[in-house]
Assembly symmetry: C2
Homo-oligomer: 356 residues x 2
């Protein structure tokens, strides 16, 4: 049965990427060797890593003032590496608290400097994105989380900031255009929009590398990774390869403007249904609704089991909401086809018809 993967992450990948990956697991580039067993120093894999970097630069409009890194250890490691590298002892960094992941980033930063939390929507269970806060010009950077996977909120407009923005884009990376000029550092675990689990994309303005002046372990110092084209140590070969394939797919699908249009269409179909359907209600403030993670609650929770059964029968996979919010969460990342969203919406309509 055809399945539609609404998983919050690791999440859906394009079918063509999956097929190409499987083929190269058996035989990488016709070498008779698997991509799982080739040296990262071999010319075929060096070409893969170079193409991945080139695609990131082309798709994102990232020029040479920025280093593009592919790191292991997950975006959670970046919660610490960002302040380790960018925040000097005694300095202050500004954070905005928009949910679970922002909180983790704040916790790690406190180990390395002073943290000023400019705003938080915690009191309303992170159902909106705080706005209108003042950004101190003496902060080393402003840290933002562009999309909050758990709460289904998204920053639709980045604030004008007097200091570089450090942004965790793990769950909406390359889902829409952005202006790199606003950012000092962007990091994103690949496993939502740009690849499989096991690699994190880091884009860092070169003049900020070494800013903290701290003597860091080699692996936690952006300098070493930048100086060695992300091959200071053995990189996560297969995850980088699949990321490269996913970026090829993204480019072929119109790049960021093309994918933004698709993502807006998909989200509109689903949010329109939530707003029209008496059996569901959205959880996030309308102006802050995420185009990636659509969170909604049942108005008749006693019918949950029936809804889940119908959803499952239609091939809709993994729409259970996070325990912090409850209800349902449909993650509709770049690779989710419009058809998948339509299948979910059709079930929601049929469900309302049967129980209206």
């Amino acid at each position: 049965m055809k399945k539609y993967n609404f998983s919050p992450g690791p999440g859906i990948l394009p079918q063509s990427v999956i097929e190409e990956a499987a083929k190269n697991v058996l035989d990488f580039n016709g070498s008779s060797l698997s991509i799982l067993e080739v040296s990262h120093r071999g010319k075929d894999f060096i070409a893969v890593a170079a193409e991945a970097e080139q695609l990131v630069r082309e798709i994102g409009g990232i020029d040479d003032r920025y280093a593009v890194l592919f790191l292991g250890g997950g975006a959670s490691s970046q919660f610490a590496m960002a302040p380790m590298n960018l925040l000097a002892d005694g300095e202050k960094a500004a954070y905005v608290d928009t949910g679970t992941w922002a909180n983790k980033a704040i916790k790690e930063a406190k180990l390395f400097g002073n943290v000023e939390v400019l705003a938080s929507s915690k009191d309303s269970n992170y159902s909106f994105i705080p706005k209108g806060y003042e950004i101190p010009s003496d902060a080393a950077y402003l840290h933002l989380t562009s999309n909050n996977t758990i709460f289904g909120t998204q920053l639709h407009e980045f604030p004008q900031s007097p200091v570089p923005i450090v942004c965790d884009m793990s769950s909406d990376m390359f889902s829409r255009p952005f202006d790199i000029e606003q950012f000092g550092l962007i990091y994103a675990g690949a496993q939502k929009n740009i690849g499989p689990a096991g690699v994190t994309l880091v884009i860092v303005r070169k003049d900020l590398i070494g800013r903290s002046g701290r003597k860091l372990p080699s692996m936690f110092d952006y300098r070493n990774h930048a100086d060695n084209d992300s091959m200071y140590n053995t990189p996560p070969v297969l995850p980088i390869y699949v990321m490269m394939l996913t970026l090829r797919w993204l480019k072929a699908n119109g790049g960021l403007t093309g994918i933004q249009k698709m993502n807006e269409e998909k989200a509109a179909i689903l949010y329109d249904e939530i707003d029209a359907n008496p059996l569901f209600t959205g959880t996030a403030a309308k102006e802050d609704r995420s185009l990636m993670n659509v969170c909604f609650l049942p108005t008749k929770p006693e019918l949950d089991e029936e809804f889940q059964k119908m959803v499952k029968a239609a091939g809709v996979d993994n729409i259970k909401g996070h325990r912090s919010v409850g209800g349902y969460r449909a993650s509709i990342y770049n690779a989710m086809p419009k058809e998948g969203v339509q299948v979910l919406v059709d079930v929601m309509r049929e469900f309302a018809k049967q129980n209206g």
Copy 2:
């Protein structure tokens, strides 16, 4: 053409593992989803991670006093994480310098405490393993590198140590039996014997976790990974899956005693040829020769091109030596079949016959 992958790492994987991995990249466990896009919180992947841990425990004889962790970031991150977690400020750790990787481990440890280098074979280009050094009983631990990939030397007997041994087993993990009682911490990048690049196996005695008393970033603290079954953050899903498959293969091939026998046989075939063949000479001291990485030099370097051509024609891939040693290096990890070694030896004989 059939190829024999002698790469020093990422290195050869069993063909059955590669085929099973490719199948599950297309369709994981019959779920209609790819292993590349499934949630690490789904029951099917939790079962994979649990089986991988169980196999590590069963194969290695690792009981519950030890935590078994699967981490991203590579073994190079462990060069820092080991002292971060185990070495308190002002304390001393003992290191033995047996090559490039041991050196890197020493460099990172110096950031966190005092390092006493007990012995080094640097002056002879690391062609042997120092022995007979005294291990200070006031050290927090003794750090060893069990196999030196670049120089082709291996520690065939671990010293009796009054302090826990911390061992980088990246390039000979699970290639032979060992007694876990001697170790406080073992770490190994998967990409030689136990899986693909992108995951590092860490086995740490639970009572040593937190020993340094240092307040660490969450991702660099073994405690968080141990408390969360290596799912504190999104783990490298595919690399862990392929590691699990490789461990299944290892178990089916007789576990550590079975694989040791095979590894000894393979190494003997190759070293016997090196010692008998007038056109080659081994680089490592005989008693310290590695069963994993067989390094040898040509006695007539002017014939190198011809040898390389013959080797290539036979399907032997990637035997170029590391620039620090030169010549040739045949990496014959667990998954290298005896047949592959025989093919290389046959070429060496034919080469000698033609040029004798």
